[in-house]
Subunit: 366 residues, 2 copies
Amino acid sequence: MSLSERKMKILQAIINDYIATAEPVGSRTIAKKYNFGLSSATIRNEMSDLEEMGFIIQPHASAGRIPSDLGYRLYVDTLMQKAELQEREKNFLQGVVANNMNQIEYLMDETAKILSSLTNYTTIMSDPIVHSRTIKKIRFMALENNDVLVLVGTDGNMVKNHTMHLDAVPDDEELFRLSCIINDYLSGQSMEHVDERAINSLRAALPGWGQLINAVLKAVEKTTESLSPQFHLTGAKNMLAFPEFSDVEKAQKLIETLEEKDVMKNLMSVPPKEGQDVQIYIGNELGIDEMKDCSIITTHYKLSEHVTGTIGIVGPTRMNYSQVIAVLNGMVKNMEDTIAHLQQKNQPLRRQLTDSSRKKQTEQDS
Amino acid sequence: MSLSERKMKILQAIINDYIATAEPVGSRTIAKKYNFGLSSATIRNEMSDLEEMGFIIQPHASAGRIPSDLGYRLYVDTLMQKAELQEREKNFLQGVVANNMNQIEYLMDETAKILSSLTNYTTIMSDPIVHSRTIKKIRFMALENNDVLVLVGTDGNMVKNHTMHLDAVPDDEELFRLSCIINDYLSGQSMEHVDERAINSLRAALPGWGQLINAVLKAVEKTTESLSPQFHLTGAKNMLAFPEFSDVEKAQKLIETLEEKDVMKNLMSVPPKEGQDVQIYIGNELGIDEMKDCSIITTHYKLSEHVTGTIGIVGPTRMNYSQVIAVLNGMVKNMEDTIAHLQQKNQPLRRQLTDSSRKKQTEQDS
DNA sequence: AATTAGCACTCGATGTCGGTGAGTGCTAAC
DNA sequence: GTTAGCACTCACCGACATCGAGTGCTAATT
């Protein structure tokens, strides 16, 4: 049996209705609300077929039908029409992104909140992930108690800093001189694998400064390490509002799962597929039992050549896919537009990203 | 009518029982479980008195009694015996604090999680708040596109950095020279009110560098601004487990309130009272309707002369006050001990705090 | 005078039962 | 192929009875 045009339309009607009401939808509802010019009986027969094919499910004998994961999958892949951003949403997005561009951390936070409040679902956002791979410039700043702040400048105009402890710290003047020499040897090196020969030459060039060189290498290492992304959960409380999770225990388990970063990390780390703006995981496709009634839509944003991240929206399987996709795309486009705009004006934009990423990554020795 | 010894004991028994069970407790339960050598009838009379005095409440005519806010207040102020930390809790706290001391942000996060999981309540924690007030040292680091990273070192050995944009940026050598001159004029100045005369002398000493000086002043200003604390909510999901919040709507409203940072900010910002390790707000004492069934216990930690913060535990009014107080005090003591220990070994500890606070405060211009 | 036993009473919680209605599947007629 | 009709299913709801924990009061006891 193949999916006739009519079956498609009926399936779409069922899904639309169920997304709106969260109630199993019956043949009569479809016959009345959507003018197919068919009686409920005919629709009943079609629904029976659709159930046999696995697109819809009857929760119990005398109830209407609800879409199955497979049904949603079909919906998402072929039936769904892309929603336009509503004026209200558009304004909202633009305002937020434009006004807060000078404080990336705040922006990310705010963005997540806006997404949650526009969609009424839960947002998971990764911090901007920095893909810097080359050392550009090292500088020092002497602190008290024989500590030194080591600044590591990388390609993409980013800087990260780490506090290191030394047995003896030269004054700033001497440190500056040393940093210039160190730069001669390390500038342009890959952060992951600093060339052994470069290090050796450096050590030879600066005998007696082994500890300082070690501190620099350690700082570089830490800078590299610090590139693993952090995730933030926003609006988890929204899930409580859905009848799907009116069972408190279920809701609690879900939130627990969402907060367990490892679980989400894998999902969010999936690289974006060519030519797809979003990726959608429906119900059991997630492979997480506690989330079998949830879907996740993820997208990727690119703030610069070197800085990218992931945004995910979590909702019940009957979430409003087209709206979420529209909002997500709108948000990403807006962020990227704002950035392009700022860059034209030669604003120090990439630096902001730098700082934001550094925020989560600043580390030090002990 | 005054509170006889016996009434006290009965009240305490009621509160203990209610804390454990969340069920209204009746006279017979008290008579049987706690061996006062009194019949249920006698206890009934006493309970009747206690109700008249306002310490307990009857939720409906044929139910047992539950403690009122006033009852909890009396309990907290006079009846409660301080709980000892259990071995399990002690080990847990020590392990966590000791192992993660080298990464303050991670530590704070972990601390909050541990508190939540040990108590099964919700934790609100402020980032370490930095009370720096004096400029110590300014340094620069040139970046691409005519941007400069301005490093502001303050008393308490903290450093914050801000990216500023200039029309023209001198090379690092020149920047270093300039920073030394700038330091001569600004070092020791209050961050909030840089002396006008110092600025004027500086401008006079460095004619042609007005923009750079402005950038420095702006960076100082931003550093000052960035001292307002951030709050983090952990374990909000724990509240869902309590029968008090089995009503999903109620739970949602509560979480919403907790997430509204402004509400919490006020509470958490109350300065610690002399000679009190914790402050306790019971039910309506909070003055927040959504939280009338909640209590909050807050305490303050001091990581160094210049770095302090607040931890709060939110639970139902029938929360286990003595346990929470013990755990909170244990946690704070542990953190402070670990820090003292590390400082003895001359580890660069304050720097870690520095970095952690900077994490949340790094900003830049646009 | 304080305590206790006894008892009637209250009221939420729980369980049972029939009615209601939305929804189905099936059959026969169009 | 479509539809009208009908018997059947089953969640849901309100009514009603029952149960039991708990109370307040009174009278007896110490």
